[in-house]
Symmetry: C2
Subunit: 174 residues, 2 copies
Amino acid sequence: MKKEINVLDYATEIMNGVKNGVLLTTKANGKVNTMTISWGTLGIEWARPLFTTFVRDSRYTKEFLDANGEFTVNIPYGDFDKQILGFCGTKSGRDVDKIKELALTLEDPEIISVPGIKELPLTLECRVVYKQRQDLSALAVDSLEEYYPDDAVTGVKDVHTAYYGEIVKAYIIE
Amino acid sequence: MKKEINVLDYATEIMNGVKNGVLLTTKANGKVNTMTISWGTLGIEWARPLFTTFVRDSRYTKEFLDANGEFTVNIPYGDFDKQILGFCGTKSGRDVDKIKELALTLEDPEIISVPGIKELPLTLECRVVYKQRQDLSALAVDSLEEYYPDDAVTGVKDVHTAYYGEIVKAYIIE
């Protein structure tokens, strides 16, 4: 069962969720992968509700998103096993099938091709309508080196791309 | 009096405010200007709370933001005169001093150089940490022409720049 929600009415739950960690799930070539994120924005542009996620060049998730521009965001709502966020934030889907390893329950999506994850039941189905790689030369935060050190081997910085996902459906899995 | 708030705990009020219209205020060369916006995002990147606003090339506000990368966002909280949003969304600061015309009450800021507006008391003080002009060739929304028609004279499209403002202070003016 899914209880449909007005996403802006849950903005506080969603943003406090992001602060503490939520799951970003993608699917391509028959594989599902999920990762923990704690950066992201909720809002409106082009008169539509958006969740924007920032994904580094090196991430397995980036390959998935560039192959299939759809994603789900799953946010805790009520009790859940916090080890999920720890595991999915430290392991790469290149090395381990995180869904299988944690025995996560995939929930069939309503509109897009990517499933949600029942254990974190507040679900946003998102379709990428815009993406843009960020330009570090325009970034004026201190501790820039902390976020973007030079890679020890290549000397290249692991930059984020902003994926603006239109939220085409939002619900709580019950 | 200002009651300081945790901005994520007010995300629902802020995002429903944006949907219906909020004020974006800027200051440069001794002048204060404000405009109504109904697009914007709230979230986290680089581990800091952000409000991102999207401003078209043609806007008077863009000149202000590029001269002084600070802005306030003022969101209704309780009753207010809805004509403020109508007026500030249709008049340009190039033609009229909107603050004076509406007799808006400027509130001294705590950290940045741009005042808030007491009539819409939920206030975010923001400092631009990143900006990036959007690339329409990467935008996959229908009705693109509706948002970005060719200018009748120049043939140029009036593109948005995303200004990512770190929220350095948030409060309700009482």
